[in-house]
């Protein structure tokens, strides 16, 4: 059907497009496949540079090491706690703030808004922030990674704009039916805002999952460090490690296969979960569109 509607030139364009895009996909995929292949190969073949897209001397020793590593499991658990707790809290608070600031009946909304925008442009810097975290007793606690960024002004503005677009009359009619403020928010506004919620939830989740710098600044206890820190340490190369305090640790740098396996094991859960999340996002978007 479609092909009939297309001129020759258009068909040629489509084909070129497909080929080019496929090439781009392949280029993006090669490093990933290479890593997976390495994680299943034997060390000598990796060091010799023989492994490209297919494992050589297939084995799962590296996974055995990684999945039995206490630190991997603990870090993984920490990252999940941070991401789940952080995302839920972050999304809720962002909605609360965004909704409140979107309503014209809130007095001083503009001034409050200015305060939020101010923090987007200026930040106190790393040392004062550290001092605040310390004085709040958050050092060495996972909360240090969750609380400071609980409402991101950028996300909040997106949510606020979205609520802004929902007519006041909808709220008024609900009020006439006897709904209170909370009921209006939870039963009318939030269901209408699923698409935007899905979007900011994704932003938040990615941000929390990638906690790295903050974690290293605020957390000393190795039992509370998130996965990204563990990953980075695994991936440190010998040249990084030689700046270290003794050469013995340089001789002990993790094997290539183990590094590969760590990356795969750390990424796989997200890759598995993502398609399901994706479906939820699409559904949320449709729901919002119809109702709006």
């Amino acid at each position: 059907m479609n092909t009939k509607l297309q001129s020759k030139g258009e068909t040629a364009f489509s084909i070129t497009n497909y080929i080019l895009l496929l090439l781009v996909i392949l280029i993006c995929l090669i490093p990933v496949v290479n890593l997976v292949a390495k994680s299943f190969s034997d060390e000598a073949s990796i060091l010799a540079g023989d492994v490209f897209l297919w494992p050589i001397n297939f084995n799962v020793d590296a996974y055995d090491v990684v999945l039995n590593s206490q630190r991997f499991l603990v870090s993984f658990q920490n990252s999940i706690i941070i991401t789940v707790t952080g995302t839920i809290l972050n999304v809720l608070l962002t909605i609360f703030t965004g909704y409140a600031l979107s309503r014209s009946r809130l007095r001083g909304a503009k001034a409050i808004m200015m305060l939020y925008v101010f923090t987007m442009l200026f930040s106190a810097g790393i040392i004062p922030t550290y001092l605040i975290i310390k004085e709040l007793g958050l050092l060495n606690s996972l909360w240090a990674l969750i609380l400071p960024s609980l409402v991101s002004p950028f996300n909040m503005i997106i949510v606020r704009l979205y609520f802004y677009g929902i007519p006041d009359s909808l709220e008024e009619s609900a009020k006439m039916d006897g709904a209170g403020n909370l009921r209006i928010l939870f039963q009318i506004m939030i269901p209408l805002a699923y698409p935007v919620i899905a979007t900011i939830a994704l932003f938040c989740a990615v941000e929390y999952w990638n906690s790295y710098f903050d974690a290293l600044m605020y957390i000393n206890d190795s039992g509370r460090l998130p996965l990204q820190v563990f990953l980075r340490e695994m991936l440190m190369s010998v040249s990084d490690a030689t700046s270290n305090i003794d050469m013995l640790s340089s001789a002990d740098v993790p094997q290539e296969a183990i590094r590969g396996a760590t990356v795969v094991a750390a990424t796989l859960p997200i890759v598995i979960v993502y398609p399901f999340l994706q479906r939820f996002f699409v559904k949320g978007m449709v729901l919002g569109a119809v109702k709006g």
Partner: protein, 509 residues
């Protein structure tokens, strides 16, 4: 209607989540309260003043992160060794580890120092950090404290150690040794050399003939591989035939910058000849250490300069890939002018620093004093006699239990070269280290003197300039005559002042 039920459900789910979060938050709060109490106890001023503490003083120690993974259920502050340390010294030491990522580690150190929330003792191997802190006045001067509370520490300090940690007549750090004095050696495929009919390589000419013979025997072989994308170190074996392969070396009591020696120009001419004849890997200029290793393991390359700690994994992989191949560190050839020998690290590497903001400077010195004896050093190296090791014929033999205490981090306190070598032997790395240790000869003067601001500021620029010109001349991108241009630029950057400053520092004027 159906919709309504759905939204209701969604509302309920949200509320449940809210509650759950509330509960979590409550749990978190109790945790934090606990932490807060701990911090309060640290800052309690009543415990700080007493000379011999009845209550255990908490000392925060910050160290570099070179730990192996702790066995399940233990961590850096909870294991046999640290508990034993606490018991024997009477101090409740709390160990903190810097991030392994050097960039973040630097930032974290700066934040800690600037925030006033400093540890009581910092143990680092980094001269730049020490220099930086001293110049900013962030460290406690230790002369008086060592006099009053550190008799055993003073006993361990040599004159050089004292001198290199001093600034304006005050000592600002206690320095101690580290076994790893040697780094690089000339790694060669013994079997390939034998197959090419090469005997012992003793002179520059023999070295050149050996490379030629390797190429003649099998043109696909790279006679000498290098990772020049990461500097000139991998050419050290060649450079050492002309001049000491360290930046600043002392000759007859005078500090000399080696790239300015007449021999440096001869080195460039020779290396350029090797490169032009394809005896040095033509890809070396874009090779990094991974590529270099790859070439050695896959059997494409016959020689290079490498660190001893790289060799175990290369040899192991090579044995699997190419049975019969034999990789050894060989004695490097002697140059026509008699030059030979690799760089040597000073075994004095570590700095124990006490930040000025620490409220427990005295206790920190007392603690260091109590660990500056063989008994403790032995304990942190090998564990507890009878449990982790036994002594056989005056030598320490590891028991199986020792596997569980190889966290390594506490070695960062006082150490001896002998114990370091014993640990190396236990891990099976001794042969590799000993092979390069024999040929390590020259110490960089920068590591022998107290921090000099001018040197810290300018040195990296000088290194970059040298690398740029040397690489271009070796690969033929610039003619040998560009060497004079290099010397002129070196002077322009203030290189002579750096040499002078080092000279003054080295000779104590």
């Amino acid at each position: 209607m159906g919709m309504n039920r759905k939204t209701k459900k969604a509302g309920i789910v949200l509320l449940v989540l809210l509650l759950a979060v509330g509960v979590l938050a409550a749990c978190g709060n109790t945790n934090n309260a606990g932490n807060g109490k701990g911090a309060g106890a640290t800052a309690d001023p009543t415990t700080a003043a007493t000379d011999a503490p009845k209550e255990k003083v908490t000392l925060r120690i910050l160290g570099e992160n070179n730990v192996e993974e702790f066995p399940a259920g233990t961590d850096v502050n909870n294991n046999v060794i640290i508990n034993e340390l606490r018991e024997r010294t009477g101090y409740d030491i709390q160990w903190e580890l810097l991030p392994k990522d050097p960039e973040v580690a630097r930032q974290k150190l700066n934040v800690l120092m600037a925030s006033g929330d400093t540890p009581d003792l910092i143990i680092m191997n980094d001269k730049a950090v020490f220099g930086n802190f001293v110049q900013q006045g962030l460290l406690t001067p230790l002369n008086d404290l060592l006099e009053s509370d550190g008799p055993d520490i003073k006993g361990t300090l040599s004159e050089d150690q004292w001198k290199s940690a001093s600034f304006d007549d005050q000592i600002f750090a206690v320095r101690t040794v580290n076994f790893s004095s040697a780094i690089n050696g000339l790694l060669a495929r013994k079997d390939l050399l034998a197959a090419a009919g090469v005997g012992e390589i003793k002179t520059q000419e023999e070295f050149y003939q050996a490379l030629k013979a390797l190429k003649a025997k099998d043109p696909s072989i790279i006679p000498y591989a290098a990772n020049l994308a990461q500097g000139l170190t991998s050419l050290d074996a060649i450079a050492s035939m002309f001049y000491p392969p360290v930046d600043y070396v002392q000759q007859d009591g005078k500090v000399v910058y080696t790239p300015l020696l007449p021999a440096a120009k001869e080195f460039l001419a020779f290396a350029n000849k090797l490169y032009a004849e394809g005896l040095i890997d033509p890809e070396a200029i874009v090779s990094k250490s991974e590529n270099l290793k790859e070439k050695l393991v896959s059997g494409q390359a016959a020689m290079s300069t490498l660190g001893w700690y790289e060799e175990p994994s290369i040899s192991k992989a090579l044995a699997e890939k190419k049975p019969g191949a034999e990789m050894v560190f060989m004695a490097p050839p002697v140059g026509d002018n008699g030059a030979a020998g690799f760089s040597r690290n000073s075994t004095t590497a570590k700095y124990f620093m006490i930040p000025k903001a620490s409220k427990h400077a005295r206790e920190a010195v007392q603690f260091l004093n109590s660990v500056a004896n063989d008994e403790i050093i032995n304990m942190i190296s090998f564990g507890i006699n009878g449990t982790h090791y036994e002594t056989k014929d005056g030598k320490i033999a590891a028991l199986p239990e020792q596997e569980n205490i190889r966290y390594r981090v506490y070695y960062n306190m006082f150490d001896t070269v002998e114990l370091g070598l014993q640990r190396l032997e236990q891990k099976g790395f001794a042969p590799y280290f000993e092979a390069v240790d024999k040929t390590a000869k020259y110490e960089n003067v920068v590591n022998l003197v107290p921090p000099v601001e001018l040197v810290d500021k300018t040195n990296q620029e000088l290194i970059d300039l040298r690398n740029e010109y040397f690489l271009k001349i070796i690969t033929g991108a610039l003619p040998l005559s560009a060497y004079d241009e290099y010397v002129a630029k070196f002077k322009q950057l203030g290189g002579e002042a750096v040499i002078e400053a080092l000279n003054a520092a080295y000779n104590g004027t």
